[in-house]
């Protein structure tokens, strides 16, 4: 059973009170963008085997969205953080670097 601590309300939530929202830190493209950009924004996914940044909603709790860093190959959770950001917090990146040397995900490493 996956448990994630909701950074919005502090509750240690188990999976059945959460809802996954897919890959995090997508750059949104709208009208005026190129087809390539719009396609990538809507469809192209990292789907990494390893470190993965993703969105979650504490749907049966405080109802708010947040982000989590998780390993899809081991189900280890590295941490959760606020969704009001465009990149993972520096201390979380440092933790991941220590646990997964040589790791990279999109522009983060």
């Amino acid at each position: 059973m996956l448990t994630l601590t909701c950074p919005c309300c502090g509750v240690k939530a188990e999976e059945s009170e959460l809802h996954g929202g897919g890959e995090a830190h997508l750059t949104r493209f709208g009208p005026g963008s190129s087809e390539e950009e719009f396609h990538d924004y809507l469809f192209a996914r990292e789907n990494a085997k390893g470190v993965h940044f993703e969105r979650w909603r504490h749907v049966h709790g405080c109802g708010k969205w947040f982000h989590a860093a998780r390993c899809t190959a081991t189900l280890q959770v590295f941490g959760t953080y606020s969704a009001q950001t465009t990149e993972p917090p520096a201390d979380l990146l440092a933790t991941i670097r220590e646990k997964r040397p040589g790791w990279s995900w999109r522009d983060f490493s």
């Binding site: 996956l2 999976e15 897919g22 390539e36 996914r45 789907n47 899809t72 081991t74």
Partner: protein, 415 residues
């Protein structure tokens, strides 16, 4: 290859079974092949088989990181049907279903295809309308299906509870020619036939890199050394994203866990497959007597071939509601597979940005039924460097062009 037959069984019985051959040769990689297929699941093996059988391309290697058929092909619940909504889907799934009918003869391997019939229950007014529409679409596509009322559902499957506490059974979409087959046998049968054509099936050989030169594929790096090839087929289901990354592109795919379970064996009590999409569960009975049960996918990206227990609980709850006798059953085994899900719930059979590299993936929760048709279409694409009529609509460019093949209704529950 020695043929399997009733006579061969009798002969071997008389000599203590000492005369059986290995079903496929043990092979170690050559320096170079015309075509390398990554992934010895059903789709990879079928692709190789039809490359040899339909197109005469036999200098082929199939590379498998684990053991042959150990991915989703050996983990699925074996439902075969072709009652999809959209024309391109109906075409490829119906081709596939029809190839299943003669597969045991073609491969000289008993895949135990059992066209026992599949019912997809309609338990809301929405589903009734949806399945009536599908039945009409199927009639136009030449796929034989029928919308049936609750009495007929009960007649076909007496153990069903029509008046469930939440969702009464209002009818169902019935495909009499759908059914099940033995999943391992499908992989083994294709493997034996491929090996017999001189192809190399190399197990415990993980592809770790894809080598290219000037935008054209050159070969692969593997745990057993470098292997060159003129053409490369990536057929790795849940690991498609990993292989795509090696080839330098991304896919519209997420890999998630899908679980299934089987009960203790019991006497025959159900001779059709029943899927209940609204409550999210489905069930059939295997020849051994086990009830084979599946449900929906887990809710997050996962490569571990494990899933969360509460999904099992939801599935069993749905089935107890639909088949009250399930509440008395003990469950024997439970497992997960990593399925490759696309946004429109339709597969990808496509050329890729890398010249000479082709991909077959995105079958998600429902690709066992598609193995022969998909192999047929993928082999055609690799042989001719262009997708043929069965594969044309399933190209990667459909996402860019907004030309989806929306099967989210047909594939409402994993299957």
């Amino acid at each position: 290859m020695k043929r399997y037959s009733a006579f061969a069984i009798a002969r071997e019985a008389l000599r203590q079974h000492t005369g059986w051959d290995r079903a496929w040769r043990k092979a170690s990689p050559k320096k170079k092949y015309d075509v390398v297929i990554v992934g010895a699941g059903g789709h990879g093996l079928a692709t190789a088989y039809y490359l040899g059988k339909n197109h005469g391309i036999r200098n082929v290697a199939i590379l498998e990181k684990g053991w042959l058929g150990g991915g989703n092909t050996g983990r699925n619940t074996t439902i075969i049907r072709s009652n999809y909504l959209q024309d391109p889907s109906a075409a490829i799934y119906e081709k596939s279903r029809s190839l299943y009918e003669t597969m045991s003869q073609d491969l000289n391997y008993n895949v135990m295809f059992s066209p026992r019939g599949v019912i997809m229950l309609a338990q809301t007014e929405h589903e009734v309308r949806g399945y009536r529409r599908t039945a009409h679409a199927n009639a136009l596509q030449g796929v034989e299906t029928q919308f049936i009322g609750p009495e007929k559902v009960k007649e076909l499957c007496p153990i069903i509870n029509l008046d469930g506490p939440r969702y009464p059974v209002l009818g169902g979409l019935w495909q009499a020619r759908g059914g099940t087959a033995r999943h391992d046998a499908v992989a083994w049968g294709y493997a034996r036939a491929c090996s017999d054509m001189g192809m190399d099936i190399i197990q415990k050989c993980e592809v770790t890199g894809i080598r290219s030169e000037g935008g054209k594929v050159r070969g692969v790096s593997t745990s057993q050394g470098d292997i060159d090839c003129d053409k490369l087929g990536i057929v790795v289901a849940g690991h498609s994203g990993v292989l795509a990354k090696m080839a330098g592109f991304r896919l519209p795919i997420e890999s998630v866990s899908l679980q299934a379970l089987v009960s203790e064996p019991i006497k025959p009590c159900m001779d059709v497959v029943v899927m209940a999409n609204t409550v999210h569960g489905y069930m059939s009975q295997s020849d051994k007597g086990e009830m084979v049960i599946g449900g929906g996918t887990d809710g997050y990206n996962n490569y571990t071939q494990r899933g969360s227990f509460h999904h099992i609980e939801e599935t069993v709850r749905a089935l107890v509601e639909t088949f009250p006798m399930v509440s008395r059953l003990k469950m024997l085994r439970q497992w997960g597979g990593i399925v490759d899900v696309t946004g429109d719930r339709s597969p990808i059979i496509s050329k890729t940005p890398l010249d000479g590299c082709f991909i077959n993936c995105g079958w998600g929760t429902g690709g066992f039924k598609a193995i022969p048709g998909s192999g047929w279409a993928t082999a055609e694409m690799i042989a001719r460097n262009e997708p043929g009529p069965l594969a044309a609509a399933f190209g990667l460019e459909r996402f860019r062009e907004g030309r989806f093949i929306d099967e989210s209704v047909a594939a409402g529950v994993a299957h």
